[in-house]
């Protein structure tokens, strides 16, 4: 229970840091925040108009008071208005609209990459030093050096333009199809981004699993299991993998914070309607509230993923069940 409260405090701290970054960043950058809000139009605005804007955004109040107001708004789920949509859309609305697409891409590719990467890592570890290990390792070396967005830029002309196997971008056809056809359509659109994301996540899973299995396969209890005459597959998967799962998933989740954001660039290439592409569009239109909202949502996603992983620990390791 003590462990739990400490972790909860850490998660809260991270969240608090993220929202504070969102608050202080625009105020720390040299220059008047009004210029950021009004953009190129700032010089043309009269003095009264600027004063009115300042009051509207609460910029005339002291910093501590501004911060309290900001926190209060946040507690009400108010992240401000997006600049980009002239009709006026709140940031939260835009985020909710886009998030499911990112969740679809990241969720599917995360699970598949973990599964595939781990399987290859185990294979590599059992064949340590021979040509299969070397081949897989070289493949992963090269894969790690390839910018994923470039891979995406090569898949589109080949699979979408030349052969018309798959759609070149977007998350669904317009007009949208009905029922079962719609499901197939969404899958076809998600296929290429998911493939690229799997290739981007896979090396991390592979490397971690390979290293973990190396250590485990040399340990005494594995030697005992072998000596008992158990078949190799049983030894590796039942005795070895069982003990590797916890450290592997823990290390993978630590690295995933760095990996998750990569979806931004992939979505931008495919014009996919997720948070990443939304941020790419927001860069072009200098839509600061939207960018801040995107960053906050990514942070929350990572924290939730971390919490889910921690909740899985007792399932993965029976030794942890007793203490809970």
């Amino acid at each position: 229970m003590k462990h739990f409260s400490r972790r909860a405090f850490e998660f809260f701290l991270t969240f608090f840091l993220a929202i504070s970054i969102n608050f202080f960043l625009p105020r720390l950058v040299p220059g008047d925040p009004i210029k950021l809000i009004a953009g190129d139009a700032a010089p043309q605005l009269g003095k009264e108009r600027i004063a009115a804007l300042r009051a509207q955004y609460g910029l005339d109040k002291p910093l501590s008071e501004q911060y309290m107001i900001y926190l209060k708004q946040l507690a009400h789920g108010d992240l401000g208005m997006s600049y980009r949509y002239s009709g006026g859309k709140t940031v939260v609305e835009v985020l909710i609209e886009n998030f499911r697409w990112t969740l679809l891409l990241v969720g599917v590719s995360l699970v598949l990459a973990l599964f595939l990467g781990s399987a290859l890592g185990i294979w590599s570890a059992t064949r340590h030093g021979d040509s299969i290990d070397f081949g897989l390792l070289s493949g992963v070396y090269i894969l790690r050096a390839i910018p994923p967005f470039w891979l995406a830029m090569l898949l589109i002309p080949i699979f979408a333009i030349q052969y018309h196997y798959l759609p070149a971008g977007d998350s669904y056809s317009i007009p949208r199809l009905e029922g079962w056809e719609n499901v197939k359509d969404v899958v076809r659109h998600a296929l290429m981004p998911i493939l690229v994301l799997i290739l981007a996540y896979l090396p991390t899973a592979y490397v971690i699993m390979r290293a973990a299995m190396f250590g485990i396969l040399e340990s005494n209890y594995i030697r005992t299991a072998r000596a008992k005459g158990l078949p190799n597959r049983w030894v590796v998967l039942k005795h070895g993998l069982r003990n590797a799962l916890l450290p592997v998933i823990t290390s993978f989740m630590v690295d995933f914070g760095q990996l998750l954001g990569g979806v931004t660039v992939i979505e931008a290439v495919f014009n996919y309607r997720g948070i990443g592409n939304m941020m790419f569009e927001a860069i072009k239109s200098r839509d600061y509230p939207l960018l801040q909202g995107g960053f906050l949502l990514f942070t929350i996603t990572i924290l939730v993923l971390n919490i889910l992983t921690e909740m899985m620990y007792p399932l993965l390791d029976p030794r942890l069940r007793r203490t809970v």
Binding site: L17, H128, P147, W150, P157, G261, G262, A268, I302
Partner: protein, 286 residues
């Protein structure tokens, strides 16, 4: 015990010593080539990459081996000119990041106590925050430029090296020679600079190479998103303009997108190979 710690740090053990050597030297070869491109672009590139020399969006032909971009600039010359931005970003970011990382790692590992908890808490926070979205957010506020990309990447890339160096310090801090130095009355600063530094130096050196490789990859992503210097020449920016002018919907991807990404891949790979093969030597000699 020491060998064990270092071996655990190596995520990419090579199957054999010979292969590690081959990998290291081929990495050195490619890197040397890139350095030549970066220092003497004029000797290789046929044109000034910032001048329009032909009609825009030309296919590869006699005058232009890889055709021209949307402004009529020679793509091959642009490719060569882009080397400098990538390598420069890699070098500066890696030195700054590893410098900060070493400072934090040494202090945290040797002093321990509340200093250690505080520094490691900060390191963990940086590692858990979503890297690219935050970097995008900061870069947009700072404005698009190569310098800002370098600053932002340096802020984030020190955390990984700091953790590794702290781990190494923890494993050496109770060695006899450190105890001896302490018994002789050396203050923490003398121990950190004079003794511990020499034990983490090889690790820091490997980290410089690996962080350089990672930051070149990150720089290309940021430039591709339009956060690089729009008039400067870099591979990421080239891909940004390739996308903007629809290069991968036409045949132009073959001479515009393909070679540009290949240059990024080769540079990142060469640094990676050098880093891992040095690391391998360290593990074996430890």
């Amino acid at each position: 015990m020491k060998a064990r710690t270092l071996a655990n740090l190596s995520q990419y053990p090579f199957p054999s010593r010979r292969l590690a050597r081959i990998a290291g030297w081929s990495g050195m070869f490619v890197l040397t080539l890139m350095l030549v491109f970066a220092f003497f672009p004029g000797a290789i590139a046929p044109y000034d990459a910032t001048k329009s020399v032909a009609l825009p969006l030309q296919k590869p032909g006699k005058g232009n081996i890889l055709g021209t971009n949307d402004l009529g600039q020679d793509l091959f010359s642009e490719l060569i000119a882009g080397t400098r931005a990538s390598l420069l970003t890699g070098v500066i970011v890696s030195f700054m990041a590893v410098f900060i990382g070493t400072l934090v790692g040494l202090t945290s590992g040797y002093l321990g106590g509340w200093v250690d908890s505080l520094l490691m808490r900060v390191t963990d926070l940086i590692l858990v925050l979503p890297f690219l979205p935050l970097v995008i957010l900061i870069s947009v506020y700072l404005g698009p430029s190569q310098r800002n990309i370098i600053i932002v990447l340096s802020i984030f890339f020190w955390a990984g090296p700091a953790r590794l160096i702290r781990a190494q310090v923890l494993s050496t801090r109770s060695d006899t020679y450190i105890e001896a130095a302490r018994a002789l009355g050396a203050n923490p600063l003398q121990i950190m600079v004079g003794h511990l530094w020499s034990s983490v130096r090889p690790l820091a050196f490997v980290q410089i190479v690996l962080v350089a490789s990672a930051s070149i990859l990150a720089e290309s992503s940021l430039s591709f998103l339009g956060l690089g210097d729009p008039s400067g020449k870099s591979w990421g920016t080239m891909l940004f303009f390739a996308r903007a002018s629809g290069a991968f919907i036409s045949d132009a991807w073959k001479w515009w997108v393909l070679p540009t990404g290949l240059m990024i891949t080769l540079t990142v790979l060469s640094l990676g190979l050098i880093g891992y093969s040095i690391e391998q030597r360290m593990v074996r000699s430890a």
